[in-house]
């Protein structure tokens, strides 16, 4: 339950969505100016699992307008890139990763994880999806909400990071009031925008992710460890893919954020072609490249480090 009042908006298109967000934002800014406590800015609503739980438990989590993204066509699409996104502009500089036009698969941000879990398109994403929460919750919990959420885990982003996915999003236009464009459709390299978290711009609506076909078909490895039973936040989740140059991987649960780095990829790649002590050394460097894991109520850093080491061994075996 959300103790306060909210306005619920359900747009049918990306354009309506960012417009709804902008209008609600302007309204709340005006209201905020009038009240000492400020007003809540609007939020996009997907699966709602984070919004509803956080709003109930935390007084500090303000909810004003909720813009439901589940009827936005681009956010529900899966498989081929929606035609409407073909002309999306690069946000900032054209990022690395696969060049536009190459073969790939698209996953809408509003897709519930259960659908991704059942789908055959990208097995590593299916695995990562299956690890999150429980089946019934995954019937609601969305890919975009998981990636954009506040929790440290955000496991669904791991396969996307490993695969060097591109993201697609809609931004409020520059000057819609003055008759300018109401929205800008943009794409970007996920890795280049992801440092501990995906830094979304105000009002930015995540539409989906595009993954190179080669990555969806590459050999993959997935390890997830919890404190006890499988339905729990992870102590570690490791997603890895075989690439042309070796391997790419991302690690969740071990830090307060999902992590990857080029250096870590390089070290794992080295390990794949090495053996014995050289391999052990490379795996050690792969782990070290991402830093010291954290200690929290679920597990200590040492234990997490041991799990990472074991997981990397498994991954190296499976990918080699």
């Amino acid at each position: 339950m959300i103790p306060g009042d909210v306005v619920y908006l359900k747009p049918e298109s990306a354009e309506e969505a960012v417009e709804a967000w902008s209008l609600a934002n302007a309204a709340s800014a005006a209201a905020g100016a009038a009240s000492a406590r400020g007003a809540a800015s609007p939020r996009y609503l997907a699966g709602g699992t984070e919004i509803l739980t956080t709003a109930r438990r935390s007084a500090a989590y303000a909810v004003g307008a909720l813009v439901d993204v589940k009827a936005v066509p681009e956010a529900k699409a899966a498989g081929a890139l929606p035609d409407s996104l073909a002309g999306a502009a690069w946000l900032g500089e054209a990022a690395g990763g696969a060049p536009y036009g190459a073969d790939g698969l698209y996953f809408g941000a509003a897709l519930p994880l259960a659908e991704l879990e059942d789908g055959p398109l990208f097995p590593l994403l299916s695995n990562a999806a299956r690890g999150v929460a429980d089946r019934t919750t995954r019937n609601r919990l969305s890919l975009g909400g998981n990636v954009a959420g506040q929790l440290p885990y955000r496991e669904a982003v791991l396969p996307l990071l490993a695969a060097g996915a591109l993201g697609y999003s809609a931004l409020p236009g520059d000057a819609p009031a003055a008759g300018g464009a109401k929205l800008r459709l943009v794409r970007w390299g996920l890795r280049s925008r992801f440092d501990k978290r995906l830094a979304l711009l105000p009002g930015e609506l995540l539409l989906g992710f595009w993954v190179p076909k080669a990555a969806t078909e590459a050999r993959a490895a997935y390890v997830r460890k919890t404190r006890t039973g499988p339905i729990d936040y992870p102590l570690i989740t490791l997603c890895a893919l075989r690439t042309r140059s070796g391997a790419a991987w991302a690690l969740g649960g071990a830090f307060p954020y999902p992590a990857r780095s080029d250096e870590a990829d390089g070290a794992l790649s080295e390990a794949l072609s090495a053996s014995g002590d050289a391999r052990a050394g490379a795996l050690g460097r792969a782990a070290a490249a991402l830093g010291e894991p954290r200690s929290d109520q679920r597990a200590g850093a040492e234990y997490r480090a041991a799990l990472i080491a074991l997981a990397l061994e498994t991954v190296a075996e499976e990918l080699a």
Binding site: V7, Y8, L52, T53
Partner: protein
């Protein structure tokens, strides 16, 4: 674009009936069902998505009703435990002692109804994956496990007896 604010009249299809209730857009489906529609079958065990006692079917898909706003359900077909009538899964839970205190039971049964529909054949992996969504503190899951098997067996026997289309729970 749909817009809902303030107290407003929400119209829903629940258990095959059109229902209307005055509510706020901030209200969860669980609270609407329990507090406005008198459907107290779905239980509130955590309001946090963890226990599954609040599970209902939305267009046939098991959903934790504490994790959904009622307003999101306009135009959907909702089924709560009250909407089942002598369903084979209910009978199996009764016969196999798939409950003790009964608090988890409505959610457990709703999830199981969807599960045996999606996986009519025995399937331990699917059972774990689906039923792991619901906590039961009383039974140790033994009776629930037996109930799933019994329900599948009865549904299979029925499917053999009558045309599949008629096998509507």
């Amino acid at each position: 674009m749909t817009e809902r604010k303030g107290p407003y009249e929400l119209r829903l299809r629940v258990n095959g009936e059109e229902r209307a209730a005055l509510t706020r857009p901030a209200e969860t489906l669980l609270r609407l069902l329990r507090e406005r529609l008198g459907l107290t079958g779905p239980k509130c065990g955590c309001e946090n998505g963890d226990c599954g006692a609040c599970t209902v079917l939305i267009d046939g898909v098991p959903t934790k009703s504490c994790m959904v706003l009622a307003v999101e359900c306009e135009g959907r077909e909702l089924t709560t435990i009250e909407g089942l009538r002598d369903h084979p899964v209910q009978r199996a839970f009764s016969a196999e002692n798939g409950f003790q205190c009964g608090f988890c039971t409505p959610g457990m049964i709703m999830n199981a109804v969807a599960l045996v529909r999606a996986h009519p054949e025995p399937n331990e992996e699917a059972d774990r994956n689906w039923m792991g969504s619901n906590l039961c503190r009383c039974t140790g899951y033994e009776g629930i496990r037996r109930a799933l098997a019994a329900a599948r067996a009865e549904l299979a026997a029925r499917a053999g007896l009558m045309p599949r289309a008629k096998e509507r729970p």
